[in-house]
Assembly symmetry: C2
Homo-oligomer: 421 residues x 2
């Protein structure tokens, strides 16, 4: 396995103040993993030249590549160039090429370069400049002992652009090519720790393929990465492991290409040419809005109903007042009537409804906060689903309910073959 040590040093007071999360190291780690390079240490420091220089020397001793992000701006606080020069024991010199680049950026904005920005054209002697097409601060590479410093701007958008345009092409030449392959699986309805338990040895550090997982809003994104060796190619390893993985998690995998339930649902609707509508109470339009994230979904999703009050359920969906009176708005019966009403009113083929108690108030012993009823009506059949979500925040419950509705719809899209019968 081609593994090379990488460290990231992120510079910036704001990254330690409690309000801005350090994100560049994750972006770097993600891109570098495809080259078999591992980020083994991250440090975050304030804009202090001496401390930064010390950290650079330490990190360069233990790692082959040291990425530095931030502190390349035009103000006196921006000391990364000075710290790099100090660490390498060299001077800073004004690079005419860098200066021309900074000037050009400003003239492209019909503005003369402020004199403060001249500072951004200073580079340590021996540094190799890297163009920044997304901002004013050029980056650079600099040898430090046996390591290479790779110095990039702090704003993640600029950092990413320079990473893609200047750093990765260079790194690909530096690092011997490895047989690496990655595959993704997207799962719904399974907790991260349950997953970790069931996936077992695949998550151990030396596993090949190695599985990493990240949980976000009910969806587990599973990244399976294999390295080829004399025994087996990366692809063959992934093929074998995928078969086993699919079998083990068949109840939960909703896609191997779409990272969200709404995109997977849109793909199915499109493949089957099934139109959809939503009738939402506690989610207030969240399920509909999620599906509208998908470009081009408008041909199959024409309208949705936000019926927050009982009165709106009656007027807009034709739910009978007696039904509401008898069972309450949060009930299997009303969920069913909402889904069926939405179908009638919109003319769609598949209708999904959501009615629940998102809290924090409004719960009772019989119908506690977190109780949500769903219904899905399609081709003359209506099925219902009851979920008692944990009593987390109102946002959490509403979000979980919207995603559950989208997943429920996904499981009920008639397949094109059935339709053809």
């Amino acid at each position: 396995m081609t593994a090379e040590g990488v460290a990231v040093l992120a510079i910036g007071d704001e990254l330690l103040g409690g309000y801005t999360l350090e994100r560049n190291s994750a972006l770097i780690a993600d891109e570098l993993s495809a080259l078999g390079l591992e980020v083994r240490e991250l440090r975050v420091l304030r804009d202090n030249e001496e401390h930064i220089a010390e950290a650079l020397v330490e990190l360069a001793r233990d790692h082959r590549f040291v990425f530095v992000t931030g502190g390349l701006g035009p103000t006196l606080d921006d000391v990364t160039r000075h710290a790099a020069a100090r660490a390498a024991g060299v001077e800073l010199e004004l690079s005419q090429a860098a200066l021309a680049e900074v000037r050009e950026w400003w003239s492209g904005r019909d503005t003369e370069m402020p004199s403060a920005n001249e500072r951004q054209a200073l580079l340590p002697t021996g540094a190799v400049r890297m163009t920044n097409s997304a901002g004013t601060a050029p980056g650079f590479r600099l040898a430090l002992g046996a390591a290479t410093l790779i110095v990039l701007p702090g704003p993640p958008r600029e950092m990413s652009t320079m990473l893609q345009e200047s750093v990765l092409p260079w790194l690909e030449r530096e690092v011997p090519e490895a047989d690496l392959q990655t595959r993704h699986f997207y799962l719904f309805g399974l907790g991260e720790s349950d997953f970790a338990e069931r996936v077992g040895a695949w998550m151990e550090r030396d596993a090949n393929p190695l599985i990493g997982v990240t949980a976000s809003r009910g969806v587990l994104t599973v990244r399976m990465r294999a390295v080829g060796d004399e025994a087996s190619s990366a692809e063959a390893r992934l093929d074998r492991a995928s078969l086993e993985f699919r079998e083990r998690f068949s109840d939960h995998i909703f896609s191997e290409s779409e990272a969200t339930v709404e995109f997977a649902l849109a793909k199915r609707l499109e493949a089957s040419q099934v139109s959809i509508t939503f009738a939402e109470s506690c989610t207030g339009g969240l399920a509909a809005a999620s599906l509208c994230r998908v470009p081009g979904v408008s041909s199959l999703f024409t309208d949705g109903f936000v019926t927050y009050s009982n009165d709106a359920k009656v007027r807009r969906l034709g739910v009978s007042p007696e039904l509401l009176e008898a069972h309450g708005a949060v009930s299997e019966e009303v969920a069913r009537a909402m889904a069926e009403g939405a179908l009638l009113m919109s003319g769609a083929r598949l209708g999904v409804s959501i009615t629940g108690i998102a809290g924090p108030d409004g719960g009772t012993a019989e119908k506690p906060v977190g109780l949500v009823w769903f219904a899905v009506a399609v081709d003359g059949r209506t099925e219902t689903l009851r979920r008692q979500f944990p009593k987390h925040s109102r946002d959490w419950i509403r979000d979980a309910a919207a995603r559950t509705a989208l997943h429920l719809a996904w499981t009920h899209v008639p397949s094109p073959s059935l339709e053809a019968k």
Copy 2:
């Protein structure tokens, strides 16, 4: 100013793998700032006992408090206890009190403690145990040279709980009390860099009050923090600065208590007892869903319209087909008709509409991607707003459009006094 050096060392392979962001240091920094304690360095390391021990020694040399998070689990990978003992040059011993606590946690779940978890009751000699009411891993404090290590579990929920329950009460006794006050302002429609330019010296490191800002989804959260001294109390400093700040940013401040536009809008609707409805095209329910985040808003928001297709705009909102034909769905005229139609159909007093081109396709030279028309109808008057958003992602444009609609509604809620006239 009472400022004391704090370092955070976060442990965990997953924090360096590119998928899990390190969040504990921000939580710690935020809580500690109220005590005048500053986080000056963050390191993130993998589960390697030797490296962790070395880093602890280094960090303890330069800081008064060193927070360590993670690596307290029951598996062999969890080496933080061993590393702390090694750094302090002491042994690990089984703490009967800690063992009882771990056992109790399991028995509270009607499960016998797995034998692996016994490891979690090991503590370095001389450590002071801290109870973890949110999980199985006890934390501890340990002297290391002149510094104190504060060792906490990695999951942010457990870390936060222990920080609140065990660490802060202890720190408040350790650290001399300071006269510190914080105030917040929430701004809409201003970029972070424009703000930084206009706010000037208030953001410089030694300013008092000091302003920190974080941008999220169009909203700037501004935190103004003052430290009292012999010349002036923290509160008096904040009072003076607030007056100036409010004047300078009056066009943008929408709240000093509500962190989001939807909560500020709900507060105004509630104060004026004005009911609201939404007619949404490209946002697909996002504005309505945002308002439904607010508990108890159902009395003033009863229903909303997701009318994604032209046909739905005609059927559900009474927009005339001729108008759609003449001006297109994304037009001032249709936005106006949608808002007025939504009022008629719902019976609400204030109606907001959104119709635009979220992309990535569907733009033309005349109506490019990012063009969104809004209308707000209230008490017989309708006003419209045109926004050409930058050509960012579809998600970005839709989110910006929903938030703009909520802010537009906020500016048009009739005040209670006007209503009384």
